[in-house]
């Protein structure tokens, strides 16, 4: 090894000013976000999910067009409705697993200790990783949606493009919410296997069990329609589904008495209520993850 370096700094830095702290914080968050984005793009699972989602989205687009019986008949709107169920299965799984592996994976590999020994804060690390994964997830979904949109534009023109664009925005919001839940599970777990297992459990709970549980609860406890609606919107997937349907300017009556009740009671405010629920699912788990990660200390 060749000759070294400079002498130590003669003056030790004092506590930086607020603006310098802000710059340093932004720099660290961006560094983590950039690395996380690059790592996600390079990972096999991410490629697999992107390809699977794209193939399914294109397949749904073709089937919607075939089902319409004529080219151009509300191509985007029909596809939006068709994609809804696919999204509710694939996107939450993809996002929650991505989040679950983030901190727990670093912890298991031993890299977390090394990162925390750098001049960064735990919040910067968590936020940076969240932003990087969020951008990667949104890009992955945009590839699928983009290919689907190309098929539709080619075969059906631009009818219903607005509802399709709204679906993309809502899906990204759902992905961010599930990513937040995944990050929280990751912070709480010592091993990435445990975090992934918990993630799968939560996914199953939200996708299947909550629906069945709500149905059973409605019968058993004779829940009133407003109570069923209040419970349902606390599930981010239900909030997403109702949000997309409302924003397609379709009637929530398709969801039965609960949908009818919601449409009649909340009217135009319903869209905002459902969007707020999704945003709450982004903010709340991420805030709790930050608090736990910071308060718990250690690695």
């Amino acid at each position: 090894m060749s000759v070294l370096a400079s002498t130590p700094s003669a003056h030790l830095p004092s506590v930086p000013s607020t603006s310098l702290r802000y710059i340093s914080r932004t720099r660290s968050i961006l560094a983590f976000a950039k690395r996380e984005f690059r790592d996600a793009l390079a990972s096999r699972w991410f490629m697999l999910y992107t390809i699977a989602f794209s193939v399914l989205a294109i397949a749904v687009s073709f089937m919607s067009l075939a089902g319409s019986g004529s080219q151009g008949f509300a191509g985007f709107s029909r596809t939006t409705a068709g994609l809804l169920n696919l999204i509710m299965l694939v996107v939450p799984l993809m996002a929650i697993i991505a989040g679950a592996g983030s901190i727990a994976g670093e912890r298991e590999r031993g890299t977390l200790l090394y990162l925390l020994a750098q001049p960064i804060s735990r919040v910067e690390l968590l936020l940076g990783k969240y932003i990087g994964l969020a951008i990667a997830l949104c890009c992955s979904m945009c590839v699928g949606f983009g290919l689907s949109a190309m098929v539709l534009a080619w075969r059906a023109g631009g009818v219903g493009l607005g509802s399709f664009a709204m679906l993309v925005v809502f899906t990204c919001t759902l992905a961010l919410a599930m990513l937040s839940i995944g990050m929280l599970l990751s912070v709480l777990s010592r091993r990435s296997g445990v975090a992934t297992g918990l993630g799968l459990f939560v996914w199953l709970l939200l996708v299947f069990v909550s629906d069945l549980g709500l149905m059973a609860g409605t019968v058993l406890f004779k829940l009133r329609v407003q109570e069923v609606f209040s419970i349902a919107i606390f599930n981010p997937l239900q909030a997403f589904k109702m949000g997309v349907i409302v924003n397609m300017n379709a009637s929530l009556d398709v969801l039965g008495p609960v949908g009818t009740y919601a449409s009649h009671t909340y009217g135009n405010a319903l869209s905002w209520i459902l969007t707020s629920m999704l945003v709450l699912w982004i903010v709340l788990p991420l805030m709790i993850a930050m608090l736990v990660f910071q308060k718990r200390g250690g690695i």
Binding site: M1, L12, A42, P119, G298
Partner: protein, 298 residues
Amino acid sequence: MIHAHQVTKRFGRTTAVDDLSFELRESESIALWGSNGAGKTTLIRCLLGIFPFNGRVTVGGHDVQRWGKVARSLVGYVPQELAFHDDARLGNSILFFARLRGVGSAEAVRVLEMVDLCGHENKRVRDLSGGMKQRLALAIALISDPPIIVLDEPTSNLDASGRGEVVETLRKLRDSGKTLLFASHRPDEIHALASRVLVMEKGKLISDVTPSELWPTHSAIQTMRLYISMGTDESAAVVLRDAGHAVNLNGHGLCVSVPHNRKAEPLTVLADASIRVRDFEILDEINMGPKELEGAQS
């Protein structure tokens, strides 16, 4: 540069670091000596503000529990277990840490040249040898030219040649005025680099001495592991220390470093104290060459 005051760290019922205080002055070099489980690594992690603890540590005047980020900006850290993202390329790894420390790519190139890793930027970290990974960790520690370098057993995974290179680099760093704090099991490294040795056992600071006080002879040193009757190991450690030996006590036995021509001494001392030694083995021989002795005297 580092001031530790009554540092205590507990994991459940186990006390890993117990009421430990010391001061590391600018341009000084301190070694942490102690057996596995003595609390060296935990102490280092407390000093970096990675673990919460009771007591107070300041680095460059900044409380690590309150201003951890500022305090860590003054420290370059080389961990015991080298943990990098294996799929990342060396060049990307060093640039990532350069960004975290707020320095440009020119600094990254400078430190890669310093540790002879230039030309390997496109290699994936998993394809690097143990020695190259160690040099990469050292490069990352030096990237923002911090005044303090903290190393946790920096040569434990290296062969003799790799060890020599790292010790030589650290010696140059020390001579250039950097403040060093390192954990080590090797008397030769400590002689070569340290001006003071903090001897730790079961989380406590047993003594704060110079390397020459710990190993008064300049001849080759051998480390022996003694297997002593159950329940008498702690009193054996006390007896040996009173007789002037450097002793480590851990779950696997009691290790004592002695000059190669005085191996029987610990056995005699223990026999005189009526402590029975069931068995012993010689772990390694460390030659205190001219460089080490020169380092010890400087």
